[in-house]
Structure formats: C-alpha cells, structure tokens
Subunit: 427 residues, 4 copies
Amino acid sequence: MSTYPPISEQLDDLEAARTEGRRKMDWALQHMPILQELRQQFREEQPLAGATLGMAMHVEAKTANLVELLALGGAEVAITGCNPLSTHDDVSAALDANDDITSYAKRGVDDEAYYAAIEAVVAHEPTITVDDGMDMVYAIHEDYPELIDTIVGGAEETTTGVHRLRAMDEEGELKYPVFAVNDTPMKRLFDNVHGTGESSLATIAMTTNLSFAGKNVVVAGYGYCGQGVAKKAAGQNANVIVTEVEPRRALEAHMEGYDVMPMNEAAEVGDVFITTTGNRDVITREDFQAMKDGVLLANAGHFDIEIDLDGLSDLAVDEYEARDGVRAYEMDDGRRLNVIAEGRLVNLAAPVALGHPAEVMDQSFGIQAVCVRELLENGAEYDAGVHDVPDALDREVAEIKLDAEGVEIDSLTDTQAEYMDSWSHGT
Amino acid sequence: MSTYPPISEQLDDLEAARTEGRRKMDWALQHMPILQELRQQFREEQPLAGATLGMAMHVEAKTANLVELLALGGAEVAITGCNPLSTHDDVSAALDANDDITSYAKRGVDDEAYYAAIEAVVAHEPTITVDDGMDMVYAIHEDYPELIDTIVGGAEETTTGVHRLRAMDEEGELKYPVFAVNDTPMKRLFDNVHGTGESSLATIAMTTNLSFAGKNVVVAGYGYCGQGVAKKAAGQNANVIVTEVEPRRALEAHMEGYDVMPMNEAAEVGDVFITTTGNRDVITREDFQAMKDGVLLANAGHFDIEIDLDGLSDLAVDEYEARDGVRAYEMDDGRRLNVIAEGRLVNLAAPVALGHPAEVMDQSFGIQAVCVRELLENGAEYDAGVHDVPDALDREVAEIKLDAEGVEIDSLTDTQAEYMDSWSHGT
Amino acid sequence: MSTYPPISEQLDDLEAARTEGRRKMDWALQHMPILQELRQQFREEQPLAGATLGMAMHVEAKTANLVELLALGGAEVAITGCNPLSTHDDVSAALDANDDITSYAKRGVDDEAYYAAIEAVVAHEPTITVDDGMDMVYAIHEDYPELIDTIVGGAEETTTGVHRLRAMDEEGELKYPVFAVNDTPMKRLFDNVHGTGESSLATIAMTTNLSFAGKNVVVAGYGYCGQGVAKKAAGQNANVIVTEVEPRRALEAHMEGYDVMPMNEAAEVGDVFITTTGNRDVITREDFQAMKDGVLLANAGHFDIEIDLDGLSDLAVDEYEARDGVRAYEMDDGRRLNVIAEGRLVNLAAPVALGHPAEVMDQSFGIQAVCVRELLENGAEYDAGVHDVPDALDREVAEIKLDAEGVEIDSLTDTQAEYMDSWSHGT
Amino acid sequence: MSTYPPISEQLDDLEAARTEGRRKMDWALQHMPILQELRQQFREEQPLAGATLGMAMHVEAKTANLVELLALGGAEVAITGCNPLSTHDDVSAALDANDDITSYAKRGVDDEAYYAAIEAVVAHEPTITVDDGMDMVYAIHEDYPELIDTIVGGAEETTTGVHRLRAMDEEGELKYPVFAVNDTPMKRLFDNVHGTGESSLATIAMTTNLSFAGKNVVVAGYGYCGQGVAKKAAGQNANVIVTEVEPRRALEAHMEGYDVMPMNEAAEVGDVFITTTGNRDVITREDFQAMKDGVLLANAGHFDIEIDLDGLSDLAVDEYEARDGVRAYEMDDGRRLNVIAEGRLVNLAAPVALGHPAEVMDQSFGIQAVCVRELLENGAEYDAGVHDVPDALDREVAEIKLDAEGVEIDSLTDTQAEYMDSWSHGT
C-alpha cells in the first residue's frame, strides 16, 4: 500500500486552503451549466454507485467540479495531478475534504513525488480510470497489470493522450476499453478550438503585456488546437502564418487565407511562435538562429518538447527571467528570444495561467461524466481498445448546453425524416 | 439503342457554339492548376485506356475540363446534364467535338428529354459512372441492372448524392463500389465551404443588386455548405442567424458567435434566407406568413424543394418577375417575398450563375480523376457499396495543389515520425 | 440652346424600355427605405419647388429613384450620365417619361455626344448642380461662367470629385458652394466601405467565375474604398496585401493584420490586383513584368488610369477577350494578365456590373436629397467653396435608416448630457 | 513648497523595488521600437533642454519609458499617478532613481495623498504639462493660476480628458495650448481600437477564467474604444451587441453586422457588459433588474461611474469577493451580478491588469514625445486652447514605426503628386 499522503496532510493552513479552493470551485460552477444540470441528475440517480475512480488530471477549479460531480453520482474517487505545475493546492485540499474523494495532487512536486502520487491513486484499486494524458492508463499497464481484470474502462481527455492510446491499441497493448473523449465533435471543436485558442492567447498577452495586432503569429500545426489559435489570433488582427507537415491541413490553412510556409522561413519573420503539434522538436536550433530580437515562444500543444529548449540553451550566451513567466535567452549577437512558461502548456503553466475557460471545460467534462456513467451501465459491451464516444452521449451533452443557454432549435418533421432516409426521389 | 441525339445534332450554329465553349473551357483551365498537372500525367500514362465512362454532371466549362482530362487519359466518355438548367450548350458542343466524348447535355430540356439523355448515356454501356446527384447510379440500378456486372465502380460528387447512396447501401441495394468524393476532407472543406459559400452569395448579390452588410442572413442548416454560407456572409458583415435540427451543429454555430433559433422565429427577422440542408420543406407556409416585406429566398442545398414554393404560390395574391432571376410573390397584405432562381441551386440556376469557382472545382475534379484511375487500377479491391476516397488519393491532390500555388511545407523528421508512433514517452 | 435630344428621341422601342426601366426602379426602391420615407415628406412639403437641377450621374435604377424623389419634391430636373458605360437606357427612358425630368443619358456614346449631353443639361440653366465626378461643376466653370450667378449651390457624390473640388477651391476657382457629400461619415463608411467593397468583389467573382479564398488579393490604396475592399476580401478568406503611399494609412493596414509592401513586391505574389487610389499609374510596366500567369487586374477607384493600360498593351504580344468583360494581355513569355472591364470602375463598367447595392446608395442619395433641400432653404448661408454636409442632415438620414430597419437606440438622459458638457468633475 | 515626499522616501526595500521596476521597464522598452528610436535622437539632440515637465499619468513600465525618454531629451520631470490604483511602486521607484526625474506616484493612496502628490508636482513649476485625464491642467487652472504665464503648453492622452478640455476651451477657460494627443489618427485607431480592445478582453478573460465564444457581449458606446472592444470580441467569436445614443455610430455598428439595441433590452440577453462611453450611469438599476444570473460587468471607458455601482449595491442582498478582482452582488432572487475591478478601467485596475500593450503605447507615447518637442520648438505659434497634433508629427511617428517593423511602402511619383493636385483632368 502506498504511503504517499493526500494533500490534506501536506498543507499548513488547511482550512484557509479549503475555503479558498471552494471559492474557486463555486466561481467555476457558476459558469458550468452542464455540470450544474448533471449534478441534479447524478445526485438523484446515483449512476456511479459502487465504482472507484482513479484520476490523473489538472487539479484546478473546473476539474474539481467534475470530480465532485462523479462523487455525487456515487463513486469513490482518488485523484492526482497530470502535470507538476498545474495543480492548485487549495482546490486539491477542498476536494480532499469530501469524504468520497482523496486528492494527492500537489503543485511543484519533483518526479519522485509525482509518480508516488500516481502510485497512491492506483493503490485505491480503481475500476475506472479518467486521464488527461494517459498517465493512469500507462501506470496500470506498465506497473500494475494485475488490476486490469477488474477495470471496467477509462476515459481520456487529450489529443496527445488519445494519439498515444491509439498507437498502444494498434500494437495490441491496450487491455481495457477507453473512451476517446478528445475525439468527440464537442470536445475537439469547443475545447480544442475555442478553449485552447482563447486561453493561450489571453495568457500570452497577460504574461507579456503585448498585443497581437499587426504581429506575425506563427502557429505550428493546424489540427484543432492550431486552428483555434490561428482563428483567435487572426481575430485579434494578427497576420497568421501556419506551418504543417500534412498537405491537406496545409491546404486548408492556405484556403483560409493564412500564409503557409516551412518553419525555417517562418522563423525569419515571426514575432510570436505558438506550437500546437503534439510532436517534438518543432522549433529547433536552425530556427532560433534565424529569429528576430524580442520574439516570443510558447507551447499550446502538450509536452515541453515542442520547442527544443536544450538547443536554445546551448546557443544562448545568457539566460534570465525577463518577466514572471518569461525566460530570455540572449544570443551572441544580442538577440533575445523569450520563452513563455518554460515551453510547457502555456495556458496551464504560466504564472497567471488559469487553464481552459470554465464554459469550455464544462462541455468536455459533461462528456467525461456521461462516459463514466456509460462504462458502468454498458461497459461490458465495449472491447478492450480505444472507443469513440457514442453519438448519443455527445448529443445529450449538446442538448443540455443548448437548453442552459436558452437556445431553441428545430426538429425534423416526419416527412423530413422520411425524406432523409429515402433514396428514390428524382430531381 | 437510344436514338436521343448528341448536342452536335441539336444546335444550329454549331461552330460558333464550339468556339465559345472552348473559350470558356480555356478560361477555366487557366485557373485549374490541378487539372493542368493531371493532364500531363494522364496524357503520358494513359491510365484510363479501355474504360467507358457514363457521366451525369453539370455540363459547363469547369466540368468540361474534367471530362476532357478523362478522355485524355484514354477513356471513352458519354455525358449528360444532371440538372435541366445548368447545362451550357456551347460547352456541351465543344466537348462533343472531341472524338472520345459524346455529350447529350442540353439546357432547358423537358423531363422526357432529360431522361432520354440519361438513357442515351447508359446505352454506351459504361464501365464506370461519374455522378453529381446519383442520376446515373440510379438509372442503372433501376432500369438497366444487366449492366451492373461489367461496371467497375463509380464516383459521386455531391452531399445529397452520397447521402442517398448510403441509404441505398444500408438497404443492400447498391450493387457496385462508389467513391464518396463528397466526403473527402478536400471536397467538403473547399468545395462545400468555400465554393458554395462564395458563389452563392456573389450570385445573390449580382442577381439582386443588394448587399449583405447589416442584413439578417438566415442560413438553414449548418453542415459544410451552411458553414460556408454563414462564414462568407459574416465576412460581408451580415448578422448571421442559423437554424438547425442537430444539437451539436447548432451548438457549434452558437459557439461561433451566430444567433441560433428555430425557423419560425428567424422568419420574423430575416432579410435573406438561404437553405443548405439537402432536405425538404425547410421554409414553409407558416414561415412565409411571418416574413417581412422584400425578403430574399434562395437555395444553396440541392433540390428545389427546400423552400415550399407550392405553399408560397398558394398564399400569394400575385406573382411576377421582379427582376431577371427573381420571382416576387405578393401576399394579401402587400408584402413581397422574392424567390431567387425558382428555388433551385442558386449558384447554378440563376441567370447570371456560373456555378462553383474554377479553383474550387479544380480540387473536387482532381479527386474525381484520381478516383476513376483508382477504380481502373484497383477496382477489384473494393466491395459493392459506398467507399471513402483513400487518404493517399486525397493527399496526392492536395500536394499537387500546394505545388501549383508555390506553397512549401515541412516534413516529419525521422525522430518526429518515431515520436508520433510511440506511446511510452513519459511527461 | 442645345439641340442634343433626350433619350426618348433616341430609342426605337420606347415603351418597352420605359416599362423595363420602371421595373428596375421599382426593385431598387423596394430596398431603399430612406428614399421611401423621403418621398412621402417631399411629396407633401414640396421643398424643392422652383428649383432647376442639373445632374451628371450614373443613370441606373438607384440614381433614378433619387432623381424622381427630387422631382417629387418640386424641382425641374435635367440629367445626363457621368460615364459613357454606366447608363441604362431603359432607366433613362423611364425617367424621361416624367414631365418634370429630362434625361439625356445614353449608354456607349462617343466623346462628342457625351459632352453635347452635358451641354444640353446646362442649357436648362440649372440653379443647383448634382455631380458624381464634378462634370457639371467643371462644365459650368469652364464654359458657362455666366450661369454661376444664379446657381444656389451643388452637391458632389464621389471621393475623386471632392478631391478635385478642394484643389479647385484652394486655388480660389470654385465660385459657388458645393456640399462634399462624399465626406460625410455616412457616405464614406457605408458607400465607400460596404458598397464599393461588396459590389467590386461580387462583380469580379461573377465576371471571372473565380473565388477569393486562399488568393493573394493586392489592394492598392487604403482609403475608405481600399479599406472596404480589403475587409470584404479578407471576409472571403483572401490573404490581403495592401500598398500605400501614406505612412499612417499603411500603418493602419499593418495593424489590421494585412501584409503591407510596395507594389513592385506585391506584383510578384499577387493573384488579384484591385486599385482604389483615385490616382494614376498605380500599376505600371515594371509591375506587369513581375506578375504571375493568370492574374486579374481591376479598378475600384474612379478613372481608368490607375492601371497603365497603354503600357500593358505595349508589353503584350497578343490581346484578346478571354471572357466577357475580361481582356487578356499575353506577354512574350506566355504569361496572361487579365484586365477586367477595361480598367474602368469595375462595379459599374463590367458587363454584369450593377453598381453599388441599392441599400448603400439609399444612404448616399438620402444625403444628396436633404443637401439639395438645404441649399434651397439656407443656401445663402454658405460661401462659395467646398462645404462639409452639416451634421444635422447626416444624422437625420441615419435616424430615418435606423427607423426603417427597426433598430432602436438609447438617448442621453439630462444628467448624462450635462455630464458630457462639464469639465470640472474629478476622478 | 509641497512637503509630500517622492516614492523613494516612502518605500521600505527601495533597492529591490528599483531593480524590479527597471526589469519591467526593460521588458517594455524591448517592445517599444518607436521610443527606442527616439531615445537615440533625443539623447543626441537634447530638444527638451531647459524644460520642466509636470506629469500625471499611469505610472507603470511603459509610461516610465516615455518619462525617461523626456528626461533623456534634456527635461526635468516631476510625475505622479492619475489613478490611485494604476501605479506600480517599483516602476515609480526606478524612475525616481533618475536624477532628472522626481516621482510621487504611489499605489493605493487615499484622496488626500492623491491630491498632495499633484500639488507636489505643481510645486516644481512645470513649463509643460503632460496628462492622462487632465488632472494636471485642472489643478493648475483651479488652484495655481499664477503658473499659467510661464507654461508653454500641454499634451493630453485620453478621450475623456480631451472631451473635457474642449468643453473648458469652449467656455474660454483653457488658458494655454494643449495638444489633443488622443485625437490623432494614430492614437485613436491604434491605442483606442487595438490597445483598449485587446487588453480589456484579455484582462477580463484572465480575471474570470471565462471565454467569449458564443457569449452575448454587450458593448456600451461605439466610439473608437467601443469599436475596438466589439471588433476583438467578435474576433473571439462573441455575439456582439452594441448600445449607442448617436444614430450614425449606431448605424455604423448595425452595418458592421452587430446587433444594436437599447441597454434595457440588451440587459436581458447579455452575458458580459463592457462600457466604453466616457459618460455616467450607462448601466442602471433598471438594467440590473433585467440581467441573467452570472453576468460580468466591466468598464473600459474612463471613470468608475459608467456602471451605477451605488444603485447595484442598493439592490443587492449580499456582496462578496467571488474571485480576486470580481465582486459579486447577489439579488434577492438569487441572481449574481459580477463586477470586475470595481467598475474602474478594467485593463488598468484589475489585479492582473497590465494596462495597454507595450507596442500600442509605444505609438501614443511617441506622439507625446514629439508633441513636447514641438511645444518647446514652436510653442509660441499655438494659441491657448485645444490643438490637434500637427499632421507632420503624427506622420513622423508612423514612419518610425513602419521602419522599425521592416514595412516598406510606395511613394508618390511626381506625375502622381501633380495629378492629385490637379482638378482639370477630364473623364
């Protein structure tokens, strides 16, 4: 049994932390209408009764409302962070105050503590895993395969996590069903496009006191996150430049009106560089050498390897904190390249970062919640492997959201439904 | 054997028509870089040698360049129109002048002639069908099932056609493989979004001499076509209102910043109504009764049943041509509702209409061409039914287009490719 | 007395022309709510009784509704065209059928007839001039100075006209007051930005069957017209490039997110070039030599000298009509440069052109009408020279428009009005 | 002589403050290319030698670079804050370390200290005033009229300040020349539109962790600031609603595609309300009573009276800090209305606020600097009263900026310049 202590045993002024954590959670919940509606349903129907959830997610106010919702639905929950810098200790403490929740997440822990916390969650012997980067799935498959038999399934939040799970699945190494929450239309369009786009740019603006109007903003990658960053940057009057490796995405960006070019050309003209690829070494030494004085470098993908920081550090003759959350690398010719939030996920890891907006996470977390419910109700129907979220669940959450926003829509008449199904109507 | 004559036997001043048709084709080809590139390849490699193609498409300058490309690639082609109002007789004549092409398409034919022309194409005993609305597939399955055995496959261009083919497929009624060209990323994003969006609005503007700035533009349906119309209308400073029946699409439109409401509410405030649903009775009597004086009604979906014109005619106390391409329906309270292009596909059927822009069709037709090539090279690998266009073909066309536009992109390094495939890298 | 005959004496089938002209006018009036409202006021109040108006404007359906409004208000009107290619003979005939209106405008007249028609208007001894390019003001000052004494004043519609009137005024050569209708906020923002922008692009699209998505659209000049063209082109997903000579306008375009560069650099990358400067030789030989095959060249400024067509013709080894409204100039290396509408104002002179949208002209013409009223009511208060339109008139027209669109706004409370006037309130 | 002490005598850890203040200034200067260029010029030419400047501005890193530039140019500078909450003590301390600068600005001072600091600045007997809200002008005219004789002139940064100065001027009460820096094209378009727009929205996003996509954002006032907020909010996919009292601005917003309605209607549907009017009582009790639960209220105008906070407080049954920088007012029916930054200028007064972006202020401050230079060089040419910034100065700054951004533009040829001046060219 793990001896790693929950957050409540690690903080000095626990009561103050819990009060502040609860205040943050309340604010977020006020702007999460889907979770509000599901709280009522889950409290009444107890759909998760008997389940034990093992979670590794960014422990902050919005996620905390998902965690609490799952507990309200009848589950026992153990949770830790999925990124050493994204945990809010006060929110972690507020969660841990709930009898049905144990939170091990603590900000700024070292590698050893990070993995000890994951181990502590696993020690609860979860029957369902909920991940934001597949840490929990990975730990169980690698180190605790004996748990797999009793696990009903899992849900994964991120692009990167799903990508890696699919690779694992293709190799036949994924041993229980996992819902690819990231791949739902709702998640990809709203969370990735609107959430990542808006929050990354606002975080960069508020970390640097700079603006985007008239700037050359280079967006590396034109997947959903990249599309969001590009769209929102253009909406701030930036001149957007896209780099890509996939010709169809490149063409899509070109047809949208953006400049498309290889990174080593973009490096010469860019003022701000934002990586969103989920890959590594997207901006490299050669690129750094071409850049202008004063450029900003930030990552809105997943891990801190999109920008080759080691290479940058090698090239630099001096490094210093130019500003909270901004590290300047000075080249031998005097140029200063400014890396935001250590190249980690900028909307989570910058000092002022708040993560995705509450309303956007509301949608993702609504899907997470109904996916967990689905695993308990119909888990046996799903084979080991990555599964798309069933359309009906995705649609259920969209309907809750539209209701909450007061948006009414049409419905098909019988004649129309019949027409859509037919194929024998002539011109 | 059909006795329906090709266009060359139906026109008076054939030479003049052929010259004018060729001039139109030349203009379009100048702006179709993908077809230009494929002409070189097909001429050299003769990938379609021995095939007989039966086509039913809008016979105008752009399509004609596809037809000629297919003939250049070695095929015998027989073609007719897929809409009585979309054929350009001069282009049809220019095609028919090619020894390897027989064109039966003629503008404004009645129903009898329309179906006789389809029959005439079928009489060529095509081994491959290329459709824009599944007319050819339908005729063969319904009336000439004996041809099915020798048919290698088909390709279908439109949203509506694919929708109906899938319904047919689900009922087990589709007897040969058909590529759903409409469903490729290239086709949906570029043709539906950019092509339908831009050309529908420009056609409406140039039919009415009206503008979109400050207008309430109601877009019925938020599929790819609807997204395009909405996006381009907003780009002309319209206030966009979306109606939908699918909650996730409705939510997507809402998150984009558009107003979303049921049609009967939109009817009260809309200045311009554009249907894009592919369904019927999208705007009905109840809606007409709520509309303001002077509204415009147009269809950018497929058939002329999206707007209930019979119902509108019943309600009207007077009807007259308010302007070329605009029929005014006057209500008993004096309100005038103006229907553009008889409710047919506005960017094809209006008097000034030119169809989709050349560059956009270049992409769709590039895919059509490589799909036909694929059927001949690997047709045996495809079962009867609807097939997605193989990724490699779609990507091939995107690469040709980027090359032609002078757009360079990055490629994955080995390290990056390996990283994307791996799943065991930690945080 | 001039012997140049009015249009009614120049047409063969006068009745058919008048019927068609009236149908065009009715359509436009349906979408000109400001003129509708002013018709009621002018008919009742007869504010223009006794005035004789000499007009030189584009004689088409929208202008015709202004002309008829002025006649309804009590004036005698004589009118001719201000551009040999912009007159609609049928509309001219419909106007001329009105007892209070004499129209000399005829499409396609030669220079001699053009100036004879102006002379014919002058022969009516106008007391007020209304111009679209200062032809009437110029003719009177140059050739009929004896009329100046009895002229109350004038109104000028265009950017170019006002520019030249101001130059004339600075030299002390302008001998009666002229309202710079072009310079009102209403005119510049709505007519120049929305009107020129939307109609120029739609005309180009419908003349060429091309699209703007992904194209490099070079806009020469970033005044109001240029801003409109740039904004609407970006709204169609073009990649906009701006050329300018004024650093503040250039900076404004840069901050908007557009690329800004000299024309000779833009020439190398542009796909479509649209001039809006009101100046000459904006695109020259050197630029033509750098351009890509297939580019489009159009003018949305005023005269046909923005693009150096003589220079282009010199460079060309062949010239031909590539398409109605498109003249191709073939260079010795095979490149084809395509000039739309002979370099004349594209939204007026192209074969499919309809001029500015009706709603946009409604606003400009509303101001014209109240300016003419103002000259009759208070003309004596204005010295010779160019005058801004009084704010109250501009605001009156805006209020009529908002009313017509059903848009309500707030009004200042007494406390607020007082606050805005005060200066002694502390922090 | 004033006895109010400079900031250096008010801080405990002065050295640490100065180091931190300098670090902030360095970061800003790195992104202020115009000030960088002017530093070189001013250092060499000493254009301000002999002048004493009295300034009341937001004392933070960007302004500090202007202050230091002015001192570099040869002036003695005394400065205090123009808003009790906008001063950064560390920056103030860094400035005060300069022998030629005395800074009295301190954050969070009470009214008494605030005015004592102004008095202390006045005691330096400034010969030029530089204001951000006319505090300095007002203090001198009201309390130290004896100084007026030796004052060369002033410069005013803000919309509100200029508005009040004009009112003062109209009453004949302004006794020395003041440049309306706010009214330059550069300032209004870039600072008001881009600066206020981007920074206000980013500040709200990062204060609330909310997003704008799909939200109804109500913008009160459609002047330059309002246009900026509306444009940037639409660029984040908000559904923008504008309220106005001036019909032409209202019509402009309507033609842009925004919804325009009275505030009491907007109150019912808005999710976020942002005031930009410069007036008072823009959102009142009646509006609060109509609002939805969870709305956000912020001010991007000038003073904290645009939202009637007293009225809101009266209506509330409870008030509490919902989040840092957010005060919740709970209504008796449970609705929570959330006011950001106490209704003060949100991009300056919120806890995370950083003021306008550095690049945007670079432009405004560049103009301030050359205006001060102009007053010393040619001050005698300006009468008492409000003066527009001479075009040549505005243009000079634009040219410096374009140079710094590497943007080249065209220049008029002699033929073109001559053409623009002529008026006798025919059609």
